[in-house]
Amino acid sequence: MNELFRPEKQGLAAWPRPKLDKPFKLTICVTQTCSMDCKLCYADCTNKPENELTTDQWKAFIDELIDENFLHIFFEGGEPFDRPDFEELLTYIDRRLYVAIRTHAVGIDEARARRLKEMGVGRLYVDLFSAEPDVQDELTATPGSYDRAVAGMRNALSQGINVTILGILSRRNHENLQEYVDLAEAIGADQVGVLRLYPLGRARKNWSELSISADEMMNALNSVRVPKSVQLMQSWHPKDGNCCWQNAAVSPAGQSIGCPYLREYVDFGSILENRFLDTWDDPLYRQLRESDVEETCADCSSTQGTLGGCRSTAYAFHGRFTASDPYCIHNNQGVDLNVLPQRLLRKNT
């Protein structure tokens, strides 16, 4: 989002959180398929689609969103571009919604970048698990994936499409976060997003290899020098917000799941059987949006205007949606982020 006009009140805490009649942003996890085999994958992607919505079903859902005056749609996967009809869906949207796409970008050649520009795609969020070519290629199990991703970003940028480089903070990149910012500056990307590692999908299975402690995370983030041309986005203390109040997501099979990071924990119903906004009214969904939490961090609340941090990681480590988020160092409560609860480890078997 471009804040051309900055909020007039100082600090979000001065505002009441609006009770939204619909989410600000809706994520469509449009496919579970991906041609790569990434160790950090949350979706546990497969090569073949299973039980995914058809082109016509997604088009009908897009029409529903436009009829309901939605503004912002965010596609992710799997890898959205590995779905053969993905560009058809973008063409169908026809600039009636703001469109952002999370992608590994290895398939963004010059021709595709031109088409995306014509279709009105606003921003690409490109996953790079490391800003070091060899490490990225190893983590994706795909030789050449780093070079192709960087080429994809350059192609998008040359067409005037905004690019955010996303790095999931892990054992494999925490000492090299500066390289993300340097890469962004070198190719002209205006944002770098540092994301937390969620214990989902293959990332959960590879947790002991990938995870780092809360202190290591904070040290990594504090070590980054950010030039004026690049905005660094991160959600650690004091910016650990509960963003359930404004977000929504739908799985490849059409289940309303609140957030892609809640995908293994909640199911608010099928969009094939319900209007999406009926699932938005699910009692658990309402509870997550109400920020009904046991403890909250005053610093994070004051910057984010919400109570409690991420509900996905709170639930992952404590098994309660009302628990504290251990990724906030003030609310960590002694949780060792290197060790997953048995409850999650059992999912790996």
């Binding site: 989002m1 007039e8 503004l71 912002h72 469109v99």
Partner: protein, 95 residues
Amino acid sequence: MSFRNASYAKTPEVVLRPFAEWGHAYAFTPSEPDIIDLNSTAFYIVELCDGRPYGQIENEFIETVGARIGSDRARQQFQSGFEALLERNIISASE
């Protein structure tokens, strides 16, 4: 023709989503795809742009907002806000 001689309205394809409790709105600009956070001042200017001439829009803004912050400051806020909205094509000359 000076931009002060024209009439203005919200650009037709721009989509606004107000957040009444915050007194601000998001604007989606499809021609240059972006979502722009409008504060209450900018949102108010957009609301005033209903096809009226520039002078009428400016006068009503200064009359309303000036009562609270003074006419000079209100005029300053209006002019910078109006120009920014015009530059981002959120409002445009209506004829």
